[in-house]
């Protein structure tokens, strides 16, 4: 999928790293792995519940980036956020034993959350956990079923016994609550 979005403020450090990777710099790729593999692994492990499968997703996500670094456009989002979403999508593909469903190129992701170093990532992780713990349980569960279990809103409604409209609204307001907390 390639949809045009508004330009994001470019992170120079990430842009340099991507440039080096595009030039075939293995050290730069390893640096990127060290910086973000925790995010990718954590997301994949949450979705798959299996360390071996999660390691496979980590390997796949970073190898795809190594083979095709131009798939990430530093003008259109932050690398950490992009990797988190890609990791989730690949893990869901593994869960359903299907080939990659979505072209990873050019997926714009807009977030102002700073995730560029370990300390910033740790702070953000603690904060999102606190935000989720304060959400109503039904709302949190709907978000988790959609994102970490890859269920459609129809499946969530069937499983939870809630009307379809309620499920849709819960998911949207849940995401907006996250945005507001990090604004």
């Amino acid at each position: 999928m390639r949809l045009s979005g508004n330009p994001m403020p470019k992170n120079e450090d990430e842009a340099i790293l991507i440039d080096r990777i595009q030039a075939g710099d293995e050290a730069a790729m390893t640096e990127m792995y060290d910086r973000y593999s925790g995010i990718v692994y954590g997301v994949a492990l949450r979705v798959l519940g299996n360390t071996t499968a999660a390691e496979d997703v980590v390997q796949e996500v970073f190898l795809r980036l190594w083979r095709n670094p131009q798939s990430f456009d530093a003008n259109r989002g932050r690398l950490a956020a992009w990797l988190a979403v890609i990791a989730r999508n690949r893990a869901i593909d593994h869960l359903r034993r299907r080939p990659p469903e979505e072209d990873i190129q050019g997926m714009p992701i807009s977030t102002g959350v700073n995730l560029e170093n370990e300390a910033a990532q740790r702070l953000a992780v603690e904060k999102i956990r606190a935000v989720l713990s304060e959400l109503p349980q039904d709302q949190r569960r709907a978000l988790e079923m959609a994102f970490f279990e890859g269920m459609t809103h129809t499946e969530i409604a069937a499983k939870s016994g809630e009307p379809l409209g309620t499920v849709k609204t819960r998911i949207r307001t849940g995401l907006l609550a996250i945005r507001k907390a990090f604004a």
């Binding site: 949809l3 979005g5 508004n6 595009q22 075939g24 790729m29 390893t30 792995y33 060290d34 593999s37 925790g38 995010i39 692994y41 954590g42 997301v43 492990l45 979705v47 360390t51 980590v58 390997q59 970073f62 190898l63 190594w66 083979r67 989002g77 932050r78 950490a80 956020a81 979403v85 989730r88 999508n89 979505e102 714009p108 992701i109 807009s110 977030t111 959350v113 995730l115 990532q121 953000a124 992780v125 999102i128 989720l132 978000l143 959609a146 994102f147 970490f148 890859g150 459609t152 809103h153 969530i156 409209g165 849709k168 609204t169 998911i171 949207r172 995401l175 907006l176 996250i178 945005r179």
Partner: protein
């Protein structure tokens, strides 16, 4: 209701990859014409990425890092090819035939591919048949082992009423599976139209039941694997008589061998 409010909930679901295919197609059509919704989708994806962080835990094992480093070392990448902007070019005449040649090459390649697939399919079918055959043999062997070593198996040694060449007969019988194995040696040879017949002597005192006919080899040795007509028949012993080759319904005296548990 504007388009944006109409699509608001759907955008959130789309950002999480949680819409059905038909709804996704409708939404993507709208996104192509609506920069505002595209912007909102990017923001919702950002929110989803933050949600993903809630799953962050321990780092992947060191072994995974080593595998990754080794993998990229094995895949040195070429520098990206920069595309040139072409304003216009005169094309040589022979280039006209390039698409035809490419099509022909593709057709030949497809044919070769099809033949390879057919060959592989045949091999797969042969392997499956072999596997089924092996499984059947394994099943029979397991049943045999159950008869020989089953917890309910009893063995009976039958001796000759008139011992001439020290013939011996041993039976292993499992009432649970209704199957028996007979092993005998030094048996006297029989006329061509005669055979030995084994009789199960029921524990409840019932009439002897046919338990298989057999003929020894020229050395007098024989092994017989026989399934009874039903499982669960307890035996107090076995006896052997000489009968017509097709077997009899009742034993013909004299009894040549007998053994009771």
């Amino acid at each position: 209701m504007t388009d944006h409010t109409q699509y608001a909930d759907m955008l959130a679901l789309y950002a999480l990859g949680s819409v059905d295919a038909a709804e996704a197609a409708e939404l993507e059509a709208h996104l192509r014409t609506c920069p505002e919704c595209r912007q909102e989708l990017a923001a919702l994806r950002g929110d989803a990425a933050v949600l993903a962080l809630s799953a962050v835990g321990p780092a992947p094992p060191q072994g995974a890092r080593q595998r990754f480093v080794a993998a990229i070392a094995n895949e040195p990448r070429k520098a990206p090819v920069r595309q040139k902007m072409v304003i216009g070019v005169l094309r040589p005449r022979w280039l006209t035939f390039v698409p035809i040649a490419v099509s022909l090459a593709l057709a030949i390649f497809s044919l070769m591919l099809w033949r390879t697939v057919s060959r592989l399919q045949t091999k797969l079918e042969q392997a499956q048949a072999q596997l089924m055959d092996t499984n059947e043999k394994l099943r029979q062997a397991q049943e045999l082992v159950a008869v020989l070593h089953g917890p309910d198996s009893k063995d009976f040694t039958l001796v000759a009423a008139q011992q001439l060449r020290a013939p011996h007969v041993k039976t292993f019988y499992s009432p649970k599976v209704g199957r028996l194995v007979l092993v005998a040696g030094n048996l006297e040879s029989l006329p061509p139209n005669k055979a030995y017949e084994l009789w199960l002597l029921p524990a409840n005192g019932g009439a002897p039941m046919p338990a298989g006919t057999f003929k020894p080899n020229p050395k007098g040795d024989v092994m017989m694997d026989h399934s009874m007509s039903a499982a669960g028949i307890e035996a107090k012993g076995f006896a052997i008589t000489v009968e017509p080759e097709a077997g009899s319904d009742v034993p013909t005296l004299p009894i040549r061998f007998v053994g009771t548990g």
